[in-house]
């Protein structure tokens, strides 16, 4: 093998393996300013801040730390609302060939943003502001209007039902919202009771996870884990509230349909594949041209003694050599571009979301009430290790008491 051919093959091999370099999951970047000096955000990249706010907020809700959840969700919602603010440098770069989608500022897929508004809505209701709670539920339903198919646009049963309930409590007409909820519900919905002063929100099962699929990881897919819990009951003061799933976040995640970003990532993947193919062809062409750049010519010469010898001359074809160099350069450049193209879909996930959302309302007198919360599997058998006692304190009669219950631990 001639030196030029060896050089080209060595470079190609080097580039091929260079493409295997694993990019760290969280490359270093600018750090988010810790909200209120919150040490939890000390090592969080600015572009991931909303993601961590979502996660911490859900954990705080489950731990009963509602002030913390409120602060986190307010900041996250502020950022979500600010995405329509003209040119976004991080988003522009994420659309580029050589920057991964995860480099953009995380705001989450619609089902994640909906949940941020849902949780914030519960907190507004808890704070005696049912109209702002209703605004959150409406925003959530509005965000779900992003779904590709009309059937799946704004199809959260609970958000419409709560919209109507809030309107009813504000002495307005909640019937339209209720009708919309009934249209999408898979079970009959309880009638609105304006005097019901305790609102119980229950969630169970693990939520969807994002995964990258496709040859180059350019497709955003969801990994679904089946929930062992399928229903629950809350028993207190002689009442037995039954909770069945009203909304399923797995379903919501799956029915969003194609994103515009999927189209862009698809284009990136095509580019990566074509660049790789062009690189292969150009390097092969270069190798062929190199082989043909030097030709051996045999000729017979007669020496001074009259004897004849066969002499081999190596003849260099300058044109072939130039061709080999140009093709080699094209091949190498193509391989570099292919290896550097970032096609992977953004799989940052709000990983502590539930799968199912449920709701029930009841009337309770002021004071402390002890209740028993039981979860049931698909066969209706109680899951003993999840059974627990819940204390419900009904306080200020001027506002509804919001009870947030979750099967999830963190």
């Amino acid at each position: 093998m001639r030196p030029l051919t060896r050089f080209l093959f060595a470079t190609a091999a080097l580039l091929a393996f260079a493409g295997c370099v694993e990019i760290p999951d969280q490359p270093p970047g600018p750090r988010a300013a810790a909200p209120g000096g919150d040490p939890r955000f000390a090592n969080v990249d600015d572009r991931d801040r909303v993601l961590f706010e979502y996660r911490f907020a859900a954990s705080s809700m489950r731990a009963g730390n509602f002030d913390d959840a409120r602060k986190l969700l307010d900041d996250a919602i502020l950022r979500i609302g600010g995405v329509i603010s003209g040119p976004d440098e991080a988003a522009r770069r994420a659309r580029g060939l050589f920057t991964a989608e995860r480099e953009k500022t995380f705001i989450g897929e619609p089902y994640e943003r909906v949940m941020a508004f849902y949780y914030r809505g519960l907190l507004y209701w808890r704070d005696g502001q049912p109209d702002n709670a209703r605004a959150c539920f409406r925003s959530g339903q509005f965000i779900d209007g992003d779904a590709e198919a009309d059937t799946y646009k704004g199809d959260y049963v609970l958000l419409d039902y709560l919209d109507g309930l809030a309107s009813t409590k504000l002495a307005a007409d909640g019937s339209d919202a209720r009708t919309r909820a009934e249209k999408t519900a898979k079970h009959s919905l309880p009638a609105y009771d304006p005097a019901a002063n305790v609102l119980c929100f229950l969630e169970f099962g693990p939520g969807p996870r994002k995964v990258a699929a496709g040859q180059y990881g350019e497709q955003l897919k969801f990994q679904l884990s089946p929930s062992r819990v399928r229903s629950a009951t809350l028993s207190l003061a002689g009442q037995n509230l039954h909770f069945t799933p009203w909304d399923n976040l797995n379903f919501q995640a799956m029915t969003r349909g194609g994103r515009v970003m999927d189209y862009i990532l698809g284009n990136k993947a095509v580019f990566k594949r074509n660049a790789n193919t062009v690189g292969d062809l150009a390097l092969a062409g270069s190798a062929i041209a190199t082989d043909n750049a030097y030709k051996e010519k045999k000729r017979v010469v007669t020496d001074e003694n009259g004897r004849q010898h066969v002499v081999t001359d190596v003849e260099k074809d300058q044109g072939s050599e130039n061709t080999a160099l140009i093709l080699g350069a094209v091949g190498i450049a193509s391989k570099i571009f292919s290896a550097a193209t970032e096609t992977r879909a953004d799989t940052r996930t709000w990983d502590n979301l539930p799968q199912y959302l449920s709701f029930a309302a009841l009337r309770l007198p002021p004071g402390e009430h002890m209740a028993i919360l039981q979860f049931f599997d698909a066969d209706g058998h109680a899951i003993q290790d999840l059974t627990r006692r819940v204390a419900i304190t009904v306080g200020d009669p001027a506002r509804d008491t919001v009870v947030f219950l979750s099967e999830l631990k963190r």
Binding site: I77, G81, G82, V83, I84, S85, G86, P87, D88, A91, R92, A94, R95, G96, L97, E101, K104, I107, G121, Y124, D131, N132, R134, A135, C136, R138, S139, F142, G145, D146, L170, A172, R259, V260, M261, Y263, I264, L265, N267, K268, F271, N274, A275, V278, L281, A282, G285, A289, N292, D317, Q318, G319, S320, N322, T323, I326, L327, V330, A333, S334
Partner: protein
């Protein structure tokens, strides 16, 4: 250079041109960079950060309402300065907002510009005031006037309002229209003596990376 090499060279250059042409990943995507939000008013356009309620809306709306209230005969020509109580604004939009901020700004505008033509009763302080009066009545604290006299003012008017919204979302973007309505209701007759509104419409489209 023979024909075979010329062909290879041409093929290489063509392939690389095609390859670089493919660098535009957002081909076929409409408005990949998004469209800046535009504030839709009859007489002006501007750039804002979102399609929700923002400070410039608050200022514009409350300025208009304060000017409008000062012009009505019940305030402008009242023999005795009328007392107004603020009632919470009802939010019917899809945007959670701090509702009190509207009435607070209207009140501060009226207080600073009405030059004593109107007064506001601080009903938010009632619990504290009642507690203080009870202390005075029981002699636990001193009183500069008779603590048993009923001196808490009664309302002549109630000022309240509501925010209503219409939202549209299509592949072309997001559009939000908000109608701000405020009214002054006579506490004695329940008649609405004044009502005014302001409306703001905004629309925008986020970057393709978020769509």
């Amino acid at each position: 250079m023979n024909n075979t090499y010329r062909f290879l060279l041409l093929a290489g250059v063509t392939a690389s041109s095609a390859f670089f042409a493919g660098c535009e990943t957002a081909q076929g995507v409409k408005n990949p960079s998004g469209v800046p939000v535009t504030e839709m008013r009859p007489d002006e356009r501007g750039f804002v950060a979102g399609t929700g309620v923002e400070s410039q809306d608050l200022v514009a709306v409350t300025d208009k309402m304060a000017r409008s209230i000062l012009g009505i005969p019940q305030i402008a020509r009242a023999a005795v300065e009328p007392s107004i109580v603020l009632e919470p604004v009802v939010n019917n939009t899809r945007f959670p907002i701090n509702k009190d901020i509207f009435l607070t700004r209207i009140r501060s505008q009226l207080n600073s510009k009405a030059m004593g033509r109107v007064s506001f009763l601080d009903r938010a302080m009632m619990k504290t005031l009642e507690h203080e009066r009870a202390l005075k009545q029981s002699g636990q604290v001193t009183a500069s006037a008779n603590p048993n006299a009923v001196e808490f003012g009664g309302a002549d008017f109630f000022l309240t309002g509501q925010l209503d919204g219409l939202a549209t979302r299509t592949s072309q973007g997001t559009s939000d229209y908000i109608l701000y309505t405020f009214r002054l209701t006579d506490a004695r007759t329940s008649r609405i003596v004044w009502e005014d509104s302001a409306e703001i419409k905004k629309q925008g489209l986020e970057d393709a990376a978020y769509r």
